[in-house]
Symmetry: C2
C-alpha cells in the first residue's frame, strides 16, 4: 500500500489547519498554542512539526484560506453590484469592511503573522492581492479613462490602502470603537469624493 503515510499526513495537515482556523477565529492568533493543537488533534506535539516547518507555516495555511474567502466575498459583492463603477467601488469596499468585522481575528491574523524579513510574500498572497487590485482597477478605468496604466495602478493601490486604513482604524478598539455605519459612511464619502473629480 503505497502512499499511506502521505495520506495520513495530509489528513493530519487538514485537521490541524481546521483546528487552528477555528482557534484563531474564536480567540485570535495570540491564543494559538502548539500543545492545544496537538491535544485537540489527538496527535503528538512533535507531529505538528512533521507536517509544518513551524507554527508560522500553519498560520500561513490558515491565512491563505482566509484571504481566499475574503476575495470571494468581495467578488460576490461585485457581482451583485450596480453597473455604476463608483458604486462598484463602494460596494466592494463595504464588503471588505463587512468581512473584516465579521472575521475580525482571522482578518487580523493576515497582517499580524510575522514574516521573516528576508523572504518575500507567499505566492497565494500575491495572487489574491492581484485579484483584489483587478477588481478595483477595472471600475477605475471606466471612471478615469484618461489615466495611464501607471497612474491607474497608483490610484488602485492608493484606494485599496485607504479603505484598508479606514477599516483598520475603525475596527481598532483604541479609537473608541467607531460604529459600523460610520465606517461605511467614511468609505463612501471618500470614494465618492475622489471619484467625483473626473
Amino acid at each position: 500500500m503505497a502512499g499511506k503515510v502521505a495520506e495520513r499526513r495530509a489528513a493530519l495537515r487538514e485537521n490541524l489547519i481546521n483546528i487552528a482556523e477555528q482557534r484563531i477565529a474564536n480567540d485570535g492568533l495570540s491564543e494559538l498554542r502548539a500543545r492545544d493543537l496537538a491535544k485537540e488533534a489527538g496527535c503528538a506535539l512533535g507531529a505538528i512539526y512533521n507536517v509544518f516547518g513551524d507554527l508560522t507555516d500553519l498560520v500561513l495555511a490558515v491565512n491563505a484560506r482566509t484571504f481566499h474567502k475574503l476575495g470571494a466575498e468581495v467578488a460576490e459583492a461585485l457581482a451583485d453590484a450596480p453597473q455604476d463603477p463608483v458604486e462598484q467601488l463602494v460596494v466592494m469596499s463595504q464588503a471588505y469592511h463587512r468581512f473584516a468585522a465579521a472575521n475580525l481575528h482571522a482578518w487580523r491574523a493576515l497582517f499580524d503573522v510575522e514574516r521573516a524579513p528576508d523572504e518575500d510574500a507567499p505566492e497565494w498572497y500575491l495572487q489574491e492581492m492581484g485579484r483584489l487590485f483587478t477588481y478595483i482597477s477595472d471600475p477605475l478605468a471606466v471612471i478615469f479613462p484618461q489615466y495611464s496604466d501607471q497612474e491607474r495602478a497608483l490610484l488602485t493601490r492608493g484606494l485599496f490602502s485607504s479603505v484598508h486604513g479606514i477599516v483598520l482604524l475603525g475596527l481598532d478598539g483604541a479609537s473608541a470603537g467607531v460604529p459600523s455605519d460610520e465606517i461605511d459612511s467614511m468609505i463612501a464619502l471618500i470614494l465618492r469624493q475622489i471619484t467625483l473629480a473626473k
Copy 2:
C-alpha cells in the same frame, strides 16, 4: 534625606525608557528583552518590575515619546507649509510618511503593542490623536465650509485613516517595497482628488 528612593526610581525609569527606546528603534519591538534591558541598565531583572507593571507599560512609555515626536514633526511641517489648505494636508501627510519611514520600528511599535482588550487607550494617546485630528480638521473647514462639524469629523478621521493605510501598506515589505516617491504621489493624488470636489 527624603525622597531618595523616588529619585533613584525616577532615574531608573528614565534610563529604562531610553534603553528600550533605542532598542526598539534599532531592532524593533520584537527584539526587546527584559534581561537585555536589566543588563544594559545595570540593574536587577526584578528592578524593572519595581518601576513598570510589565514590559508593555515600558513600551507604552516609549510609545508616548514616539507619538509626541510624531505630532511635533507634523506640526513643524504645518508651520512651514503654504497657506493653501489642500497643500497643508499634503505636506502634513508627507511629514507623517517621512516620520514613519525614518522611525520605522518605533512607528510600528505604536500599533504592534497589544493592549488588553478591556481597558481603553491611555490618555496621552487620545490627546496626541486629538492634536493630529485638529491639524487635519482646520484646513478641511476652509476647504469644505458647507460641511457640518459631524461631517467634517468623519472626513477628518477618514483622511487620517487613508493616509495611515497608504503609509502602512507602502512601507510593508510584503507589497514588494513601494518606492518612497510613489507613496508620496499616492498621498498627494488622493488628497488632491478628494479636495477638488468642493
